[in-house]
């Protein structure tokens, strides 16, 4: 889109939205949020970027093919479930560690890595759809 205002403001909006999507993703464990909704916010950000600067720019910016990102997410989610095998508990059992970094306890869990997997699947799959729709629109 050849609007100077939009092109100037788009990078700011996009970076804030990506940041917010990660915030929503991490917030999701105990409060409303999570991988799915976080992923959708990230897709919205990438779509805005695409409208402002073109699909090619987005493809270059995310480095990997969107479907490869979805595949990586699916793999991460599956592996988070399989991690339970090591601890002799059933598939998909939530496993927690509490490392203390700089005096602050940080709870990390396989639930979180699973949710990051969901985030990546949503980002990859929906971005793939959005980008190919935008490409069709440009012809």
């Amino acid at each position: 889109m050849k609007s100077l205002i939009f092109r100037t403001i788009a990078p700011v909006i996009v970076s804030v939205m990506i940041l917010f999507s990660i915030f929503v993703l991490l917030r999701g464990h105990n409060e409303p949020g999570g991988g799915f909704i976080g992923g959708l916010i990230a897709v919205a950000a990438l779509s805005i970027y695409g409208i402002a600067f073109g699909v090619e720019t987005v493809r270059r910016a995310i480095v990997f093919h969107p479907l490869s990102i979805a595949g990586a997410g699916l793999l991460l989610a599956t592996l988070s479930g399989l991690l339970s095998m090591v601890f002799h508990v059933p598939f998909m059992t939530g496993l927690w560690v509490y490392p203390v970094v700089l005096g602050e306890e940080i709870p990390l869990s396989s639930v979180m890595t699973f949710d990051i997997g969901v985030y990546l699947v949503v980002v990859g799959a929906v971005t793939s759809i959005a980008l190919s729709l935008e490409e069709r629109g440009e012809d």
Binding site: H65, L67, S68, A70, G71, A72, G73, L74, L75, T78, L79, G81, L82, M85, F87, H88, V89, P90, F91, M92, T93, G94, L95, W96, V97, Y98, E105, P107
Partner: protein
């Protein structure tokens, strides 16, 4: 594992004993397919590595499913509850003999399909994602066979449906989109019906765990509308399985995709519908199913007859095979309508046979079309002269699908006919035999026209030799059909045992609720 910071003590709601390593076989087929599918998705542009990874992955899946079957034969139904929550609240994967047998056969079919696809699916098909879709389809199919939760069954149906859409439109030709729309529309209606029925089920029982439903159902027969519920499920699964009045999507779509995709669909998809019908109908609501047995028997008879008559009327081998799939579904429905361990054993045996043989038939049709230049019966001919081994294999498959000895199609037909006569419905037995006879004529016609008939004008050039990757899958499936036909004892016993577990699911319940405690 540190649970120290967790404020509430949840141990009463958790599975506390450690999970035996062998019990992981319950979930591994699904997790394995998802993981390999994800890896294939990430290396989509490496079109040479794709078939290699997929074939090795599916070979490992066959090994996993075989180990699972062995484990179930050794120690009865096995359960694993996701996320450690106790059933019925945790989602349970419970595998009994029926599920393990179906899962193993589907894995074999998928492996064979992946090998056949090396030849049939070109580089652009691979880039489009044939192999990732295949693996995700197998995740859905395996999940459907192994799960012990009704809503989870619905989820796996969705997974396999989405993957099958992807496979169906591989190539994006006009005809394929047309077939996919018809297929997609009717399947979405069926899935929605399934979902509505599941909501209704949850409203009645307050649980979705199959074992929990099975033990609660007898107590609710007088008060809850279980017959309505069963009817809804039967309609939904009959659509999926392509039973008579709701089967028009199958002949409208199965001839459009690549032949390997058709072969996989014919082997896998309709059988998932039959499996779900067995699981929900026979195991959960046997009394209600019996009340509808006459309706089911009539539907089964019409499915068989329309299937085999439809096959007689076709001149395109792919369409013809689509009707043969339907006719086989009719035979399985007949067994479900008759009921009882003998008939259900026959259904399970028939399903295993049908998965292997229908896949092989589609693959053979693909090879025949490549050799003689098309799927149309009026244009082809002369295969017998140049391709003796292939002709012999095809003839065996034709005999097998018609139910002639000594091939795998013979025994389940015998079991079903015997069960029908014992059950006092000789007319159904007569229709089973008639449909076999009509199938024989239909396949005989294919053999006469496409194989025996000499071609008037020889195609230019020397006849090309068959690639090993094209012949090997058909050879493997035909050999397995012959072996099952010659040595049916093992499978016969397994199918009977599986059926008796379904009819008397106490071992299944025991596996989910080990204490045997009252609800």
């Amino acid at each position: 594992m540190a649970v120290s910071s967790s404020p509430a003590d949840l141990s009463a709601a958790l599975v506390l004993q450690p999970v035996a390593a062998l019990d992981w076989l319950v979930i591994l087929p699904v997790a394995w397919c998802l993981a390999i599918g994800a890896i294939l998705l990430m290396i989509r542009h490496k079109s040479l590595a794709q078939p290699l990874v997929a074939v090795l992955g599916l070979a490992a899946l066959v090994a996993l499913d075989a180990a699972l079957l062995w484990h179930v034969v050794q120690s009865g139904p096995v359960t694993m509850v996701m996320g450690r929550w106790l059933p019925p609240f945790g989602i349970a994967f419970t595998v009994d003999l029926t599920g393990a047998l179906f899962a193993l056969t589907s894995a074999v079919v998928a492996l064979v399909g992946a090998v056949a696809a090396i030849d049939d699916i070109n580089v652009s098909g691979r880039r489009y994602g044939f192999y990732p879709f295949l693996l995700l389809l197998m995740a859905g199919v395996s999940g459907a066979f192994l799960t012990g939760d009704v809503f989870n069954l619905y989820v796996w149906f969705e997974v396999l449906l989405i993957s099958s859409f992807g496979l169906l439109v591989l190539g994006s030709e006009r005809e394929q989109i047309d077939g996919a729309v018809k297929y997609g529309f009717l399947n979405l209606v069926a899935t929605t019906l399934f979902l509505i029925a599941t909501g209704y089920l949850y409203g009645i029982f307050g649980t979705l765990n199959m074992a929990d439903i099975a033990r609660k159902a007898p107590g609710l027969q007088m008060t809850a509308p279980l017959v309505t519920l069963t009817a809804l499920y039967i309609l939904a699964f009959a659509m999926k399985a392509a039973a008579f009045p709701v089967n028009f999507w199958l002949p409208a779509s199965y001839h459009t995709p690549r032949i390997v995709v058709s072969a996989l669909f014919a082997g896998l998809l309709t059988k998932v519908g039959i499996y779900a019908l067995i699981r929900i109908g026979v195991m959960l609501f046997p009394a209600e199913l019996e009340q509808m047995s006459l309706v089911l028997a009539i539907v089964a008879a019409l499915t068989m007859l329309t299937g085999s008559l439809g096959a007689l009327a076709q001149s395109d081998t792919r369409r013809l095979l689509g009707y043969l799939v339907i006719s086989g579904i009719g035979a399985m429905l007949a067994g479900i309508a008759i009921g009882g361990p003998d008939a259900i054993g026959g259904v399970i045996f028939y399903a295993v046979h049908s998965m292997l043989v229908m896949t092989a038939l589609y693959l053979a049709a693909g090879v025949a079309a490549r050799l003689s230049g098309g799927f149309s019966l009026s244009a082809s001919g002369g295969l017998y002269r140049h391709h003796l081994l292939f002709t012999a294999l095809s003839l065996m498959l034709f005999f097998s699908v018609s139910g002639l000895p000594p091939f795998s199609g013979f025994w389940p037909k015998v079991m079903l006919v015997k069960a029908a006569i014992d059950g006092g419905s000789s007319w159904l037995a007569a229709i089973l035999l008639l449909s076999g006879f009509l199938t024989m004529i239909a396949t005989g016609r294919v053999f006469l026209l496409a194989y025996w008939r000499p071609v008037e004008a020889q195609p230019a050039g020397v006849p090309q030799p068959l690639a090993i990757t094209a012949l090997l899958p058909i050879l493997a499936l035909t050999v397995s059909s012959v072996l099952i036909g010659l040595f049916p004892e093992t499978l016969l016993n397994l199918a009977r045992q599986a059926a008796s577990t379904l009819n008397e699911p106490s071992a299944y319940l025991q596996s989910v609720f080990p204490a045997g405690g009252a609800p």
